[in-house]
């Protein structure tokens, strides 16, 4: 993608997105928009459709309609590999570590989709566990290590837009902290991040804006500045 395309307008723009699993109509007209360099979260209760939204963006849903625009390009009909090649990095909720590959192979699997991805050394510095276990079979890692691997894997590829689905699940606080720092750094470097999080405390410190999702729709949007004043509303959305 050219720099000019990134600069003018939004990096990701979704309009009236519908998505189905078999017969069940999960996404019922999602619309959202993220500008380049923004960190935006989607929050909402279990089953609201957050994961499904990310999967739809990646082209992993069998049936979807509406519009998904990545860097000015309509991708609603594109296969996943085409979308990824535009510079999109995806960390799935279920982590998607390959059992048939060892840790290094897992790391090296995704091909580069852009310039400036992290070097293996940098990644190992961020997640020392992975260095130590690099010969281990992917799924033999502990739960948290798998999560680290899933994140590390896309940092290498040079993607500019990241879709992170609950990246802190199952991670020790100290690692969560590291990941937060990493995301902050990425933000400074101009990466764009769409984050799905249950851990609102974590999301709160990172995000420019929060979209609230309920039953397959975006029902609200709260800017960073309003989080403090709107905490009651947020708590109601999250059922705290």
């Amino acid at each position: 993608m050219s720099d000019s395309a990134q600069q003018n307008g939004s990096c990701l723009k979704i309009a009236d997105l519908h998505g189905l699993y078999g017969d069940s109509h999960v996404l019922q007209g999602v619309s959202l928009q993220i500008a380049r360099g923004e960190v935006v979260t989607i929050i909402g209760r279990n089953g609201a459709g957050k994961t499904t939204t990310l999967r739809a963006i990646m082209g992993l849903l069998d049936k979807r309609s509406g519009s998904i625009n990545v860097w000015g390009r309509e991708v609603i009909a594109d296969p996943p590999e085409r979308i990824a090649k535009l510079g999109v990095g995806y960390v799935p909720e279920e982590r998607g570590i390959y059992a048939t590959l060892d840790v290094t192979e897992n790391l090296l699997l995704p091909p580069r989709v852009g310039e400036g991805g992290m070097a293996l050394e940098e990644i190992f510095k961020l997640f020392p566990n992975l260095r130590e276990r690099r010969r281990s079979q992917g799924t033999r890692l502990s739960g948290g290590e798998q999560q680290m691997l899933a994140i590390a894997r896309v940092l290498r590829t040079g993607a500019r837009l990241f879709l992170l689905d609950e990246p802190t699940e199952g991670l020790a606080p100290v690692i969560v902290q590291q990941i937060r720092q990493a995301i902050e750094l990425m933000k400074q470097d101009g990466y764009t991040i769409l984050l799905v999080e249950q851990n609102f405390r974590f999301a709160q410190r990172l995000a420019d804006r929060h979209y609230v999702m309920e039953r397959g729709r975006i029902v609200d949007m709260i800017a960073r500045a309003d989080v403090a004043s709107q905490s009651a509303r947020i708590q109601a959305y999250l059922g705290i």
Binding site: P80, A84, Y98, L101, P110, T157
Partner: protein, 289 residues
């Protein structure tokens, strides 16, 4: 039995083992990388042999060009089958791949019997490779020597392509979780098609190598696949190098059985497989998952 004769038998076993290795390799590629138990592997072997026979008889194309053409044709058949049929069962349990290829095997073999009947057909040994060397311990036909060289070369080339380049890991990932792999920007469908085609082409190659030694007939590959099954299981499923090594060693073991207890030659591989599975369930070289 003199030591010399025994050594001769070991050499002969190795020759036969290199066939097993080549066949198991194609099988292991398709199984290890695509998760399809390709029962039709023997049928593709037959296609390779028949292909070279047809090239010779209908087009006058000789052994050496056929050695390249026939596997390519078999591979192309594999590609078409993959695109139209096999691609639909990846996401299902392994057993559906097995059944689909079982059906294919019945169909292809049945049609060949229908068209060509079951009589064997001659395929001459190429002129350059007639005769043999006297190694002292045994008389080694040149053609058999060539078979060993060619299979070992191809085995290691394949091993290299799969284990030492990113191809193997990408293929494995593509089978394990195709959707996610696509989401990383890898064109999985094309890759799987290629993997299947390559595995089939290997079988076709083995078929061409076999054509001058065994009679070319529609039934030539039918039972072979069970032995190949066993080789792959003993070695450890999915591992390329182990398919090669196990293929070679089981060839030797089988050869020696033919000396010490000839009627047991068919069974010995299964007995070994049974014992191995008891002691090392993942196979001799397989990683336990």
């Amino acid at each position: 039995m003199s030591l010399e004769i025994l050594m001769g038998q070991v050499v002969v076993g190795l020759i036969n083992g290199s066939f097993y290795a080549l066949l198991s390799l194609g099988f292991a590629v398709i199984f290890g990388l695509l998760g399809i138990i390709n029962v039709a592997q023997g049928t593709f072997y037959m296609l390779g042999a028949f292909g070279s026979w047809m090239l010779l008889n209908y087009a006058g194309i000789g052994y050496w060009p056929a050695l390249i053409l026939s596997p390519l044709i078999a591979g192309a058949v594999g590609v078409v089958l993959e695109k139209t049929l096999i691609a639909r069962v990846y996401k299902l349990e392994h057993i559906y791949g097995l059944l689909l290829t079982y059906g294919l095997m019945m169909f292809i073999q049945g049609m060949f019997v229908y068209w060509f009947a079951t009589a064997g057909r001659p395929y001459p040994v190429p002129l350059e490779l007639r005769g043999g060397f006297d190694l002292g311990i045994l008389f080694l036909p040149k053609y058999r020597g060539w078979v060993v060289v060619a299979s070992v070369f191809f085995c290691f080339a394949t091993w290299f392509a799969i284990e030492k380049t990113s191809l193997g890991r990408t293929l494995r990932a593509a089978t394990e979780n195709p959707q996610l792999t696509r989401a990383f920007g890898i064109n999985v469908p094309a890759l799987l098609t290629f993997g299947f085609g390559a595995g089939v082409a290997l079988a076709g190659f083995a078929g061409v190598l076999a054509a001058p030694i065994y009679s070319v007939s529609p039934l030539m590959g039918g039972e072979l696949v069970i032995t190949v099954f066993a080789v792959v299981v003993v070695g450890g499923m999915g591992s390329i190098l182990s398919a090669i090594v196990t293929g070679l060693s089981l060839g030797v073991v089988e050869g020696l059985t033919k000396v010490f207890y000839p009627p047991g030659a068919n069974m010995v591989i299964f007995v070994i497989m049974f014992i191995v599975l008891l002691i090392k369930p993942a196979g001799l070289f397989g990683r336990e998952r």
